[in-house]
Every structure is written in structure tokens, then in C-alpha cells.
């Protein structure tokens, strides 16, 4: 016996696989509602390695009942500067402010919060299979530093990220089509020359980042994440595109050096229609809950986690862990977020069809006044004006936005 094996001996209502933002928010809420909660994570350090651009809107922080905390909200961003392929700038100031966060600190803080509420964490331990009985997921098989154990629980929550191994082992097909993911690579750098570190910087163009974009998310006056997301099936690697970009912009990068490399897979297709099964709830990237335009997933994941925790509590009260009961989780999430993300996917498909010339037209069209009108909510009238001026874009929109 030892520290890790002792944790496997507890009686648990719910086992959450994965200690990311989704898993730890769910753990916090489950434990708070009185459920005996165990979180299992294969890493020896929660929060590391980072696979993220680390941008998070203020609105998501509030939705997850969190508060501004300078230990992880390390830089504020007032909006975005978008650069057209020819380098023309569009400054977009939004009503919703955002933060660039230190994700390692963020995830540790979420884990610490959940533990304070009564959750237990079993780290450096890998779930290598699920236990099924009569068509229900009733537990997990876990490999700890002290050997292999079976742990049973009423509910298993798969919050294990884009790999989504737990759901797959339970028999839910969570495989992403290679055309429906973005491939991401990122350097965190110091020594950046930025004239506007108060904004995030987004560079678009079919040559520099096919179907995606290159970003600089400042974490300070001269530090920040420099990253790229491109279509998963592109012949060149994300790293190659990013390295080319850095080389061709000495005015930003001449004095800069990276002190952290990050990367990952961003599921930018449709969210999983059935993020549940008998005895199983699936949350976050594992269920493809990501905004398909910007690729952000922390917010959607935490929002789903709050709903999933509520449904888990209700399921334990009613002693019903059937997929029929868990359907309510999906219904609530799609109503609150999922249906909107499906619409966002259509907008992505529209943007994906645009040539560099089309992007220049957009850069011309979206003057500061137009953008203000747009962010004031007059989206339809702005689009109508654009399409009246550029019928070709209207045709593209007609085929993709239906």
C-alpha cells in the first residue's frame, strides 16, 4: 500500500478522467453538491504540458463562477488587431474583454479549489480501460505508480481532452476526421517587438496559415504566445508555416527567443451529437466542444462541466445513470452553447472558401465605423451592404451559410 493505492480504495459516486479546466470545474461542483468525487490524471503535474494559446474571455471566467486572479490572469487584452495577407490592419475592439492566462497556474488553482470542496485527485495514474457491466460503464482500470487497480463509481466523466481515449474505450466514437481538426504549434517568446501589446494580433492568409491563422497573444509588454493553427490535412507541418512567418517578420522577432514550445490538436468540426452513454458523460475537447472559428475550447468546456456536474448530482439522487437520463445534459448544453457553435461552423466554412483577394476586400470593407456597427449587433445589415458591393462573396456565403 501507499499514497496512490490508498486513493484507489475510496468509495466514489463519480470518477472524472482528466484534470483540465473541464474536469476540475466539474470536480469542484460535484464535490460541492456532496458527491464523492475522484479525478484521475495521467500527468505527474496538473497543468503541464500546455497545449493552448491561453486566451480566455472575461465572460467565461464569470460563467464558471470564477474571479479575476492575478496569479493566472496575467495580461489583459482590449481587443484584436487583424492583419490581412497584404498586411493591412483592422482593429477590433469588443465589448467582452479577455485575458491571456498562465494555464499551468490556472489548472493548479482549479484543482486546489476542487480539493478544498472535497474532491480527491489521483495523479500520475493512467486510465487504461473502462469497466463495463450490462451495457453500462461502471468503473475504470487505472495504472498507478503502485500498480494496477480497478475503481468503481456510479458515473464516469470523460474530460480527457482531444485524445478522448476514455470515451473510445467505452465504445463511443470520438475520432476526429483529419479535415475537421486544426494542427497547432506555438512558441512562448520573450524579446518581442509589439507596438500594441494591449491587443491580441491575428494574421490571416491562405499562404501563411491555410484555413487558420497565426496569432500573437501577449503575456506582457515583450512576451507572449506566438502560434499557428492550420488545417490538419495540410501537406506542410504547422511548425514549418510558423517558422517561415517568424523568419519573414524580423521587425517583431529579431530580438525574440522562445522559452517554451507548445502544440496540439484543435477539434474544429461539429460537437459530438451524443456526448454521453450509459454511465458516461463526455465533456470539453473530448466531445469536440470548441469554437470552430477561433479554436478556443476552455470556455465551452467549463460551461459543459457546470451542466454535467448538475446532471450528475440529479442522476445520483434518482439513481438513474442511463443514457436516457443523461440526454438532458446534451439537451441543456446544445441549447446553451452547442447549437450556436454549429452556426459558427458554417461561418468557418464561409471563411475557408475565401481567397487572399477576398480577404483584402474584407479588410477594405471593415473600416472602424463598419466594425463598430457590426459589434453593436447590426450584423445582418453590415453583411447585406458587403454582399451588395461584392456579389461573389454573396454567392460563397449562400452556399456555405445555409
Amino acid at each position: 500500500m501507499g499514497y496512490f493505492s490508498n486513493l484507489t480504495k475510496g468509495q466514489y459516486d463519480i470518477i472524472i478522467v482528466g484534470a483540465g479546466p473541464g474536469g476540475s470545474i466539474a470536480a469542484r461542483d460535484c464535490a460541492k453538491s456532496g458527491l464523492k468525487t475522484l479525478v484521475i490524471d495521467k500527468r505527474q503535474e496538473v497543468g503541464s504540458p500546455v497545449r493552448c494559446g491561453e486566451g480566455l474571455g472575461e465572460v467565461w471566467i464569470k460563467k464558471a463562477s470564477l474571479e479575476y486572479d492575478p496569479t493566472w490572469c496575467i495580461w489583459k487584452s482590449a481587443g484584436a488587431m487583424v492583419y490581412s495577407p497584404k498586411g493591412r490592419k483592422m482593429e477590433i475592439i469588443t465589448k467582452n474583454k479577455g485575458y491571456v492566462i498562465e494555464r499551468k497556474m490556472f489548472e493548479k488553482k482549479l484543482a486546489a479549489d476542487a480539493i478544498r470542496q472535497g474532491a480527491r485527485y489521483l495523479i500520475k495514474s493512467r486510465v487504461y480501460d473502462v469497466i463495463k457491466k450490462d451495457g453500462f460503464v461502471v468503473g475504470v482500470k487505472v495504472e498507478t505508480p503502485e500498480g494496477k487497480f480497478d475503481i468503481h463509481a456510479k458515473i464516469i466523466m470523460a474530460a480527457d481532452g482531444v485524445d478522448s481515449m476514455t470515451a473510445k474505450r467505452a465504445g463511443v466514437n470520438t475520432v476526429n476526421a483529419i479535415t475537421e481538426v486544426d494542427s497547432g504549434y506555438e512558441y512562448e517568446m520573450s524579446g518581442l517587438k509589439m507596438d500594441r501589446p494591449d491587443l491580441i494580433h491575428l494574421f490571416v492568409g491562405t499562404k501563411i496559415a491555410p484555413r487558420g491563422y497565426i496569432w500573437i497573444f501577449p503575456k506582457g509588454r515583450d512576451i507572449g504566445n506566438v502560434g499557428i493553427g492550420i488545417a490538419g490535412h495540410d501537406e506542410k507541418t504547422a511548425k514549418e508555416y510558423l517558422d517561415m512567418f517568424i523568419e519573414s517578420h524580423p521587425e517583431i522577432f529579431k530580438e525574440a527567443t522562445s522559452y517554451e514550445v507548445k502544440g496540439g490538436c484543435i477539434p474544429v468540426g461539429v460537437p459530438l451529437e451524443k456526448p454521453y452513454a450509459n454511465g458516461l458523460l463526455i465533456v470539453g475537447d473530448a466531445a469536440h466542444m470548441v469554437n470552430p472559428i477561433h479554436g478556443g475550447g476552455m470556455g465551452a468546456s467549463m460551461e459543459a462541466a457546470v451542466i454535467a456536474a448538475k446532471i450528475a448530482r440529479e442522476a445520483v439522487d434518482k439513481n438513474d445513470f442511463s443514457e436516457k437520463f443523461f440526454k438532458r445534459y446534451a439537451d441543456l448544453w446544445f441549447e446553451q452553447r452547442g447549437n450556436q457553435l454549429k452556426d459558427v461552423l458554417k461561418v468557418r466554412r464561409f471563411f475557408e472558401k475565401l481567397s487572399d483577394g477576398d480577404l483584402e476586400i474584407l479588410a477594405d470593407f471593415f473600416t472602424p465605423e463598419t466594425l463598430l456597427e457590426f459589434s453593436d449587433g447590426k450584423k445582418l445589415s453590415v453583411f447585406l451592404k458587403l454582399f451588395a458591393k461584392h456579389p461573389k462573396l454573396a454567392m460563397t456565403a449562400a452556399t456555405t451559410l445555409r
Binding site: D163, S183, Y185, A238, C265
Partner: protein
């Protein structure tokens, strides 16, 4: 026989390859990618996807 290889000096251990594998033969275990070569169907999705160019399908 064809074989999936991972260049450990290039791999950034993001696990993205596992998510586009149609037969779940890849798994990220702490700091290495494990490939079950018997299960692998040599589709090359992981090779195309890999942001770091660490994966290859070798003869």
C-alpha cells in the same frame, strides 16, 4: 512491413495524433507516443496531422 515511427526529438507530446487515428492504435503515455503496430491501418492521418513533423510511415 510498413511501420509508424515517432521522432522523439521532434515530438512535442501533444497527443493530437491520437485524436485523428481511426482505429485508436496511438496513445500518449506520459512522455511518449505508443503505437500498436498490429492495430495500425497505415492510413497516414497522424503523419499528415503532426504539427511538429515527428511522425513518419516507414517501409
Amino acid at each position: 512491413m510498413d511501420k509508424i515511427t515517432v521522432d522523439k526529438t521532434k515530438c512535442i507530446y501533444c497527443g493530437g495524433c491520437t485524436s485523428v487515428c481511426p482505429v485508436a492504435c496511438l496513445e500518449l503515455i506520459e512522455t511518449y507516443i505508443h503505437c500498436d503496430q498490429d492495430k495500425c491501418v497505415k492510413c497516414g492521418n497522424c503523419v499528415k496531422f503532426c504539427p511538429a513533423g515527428a511522425m513518419a510511415l516507414k517501409k
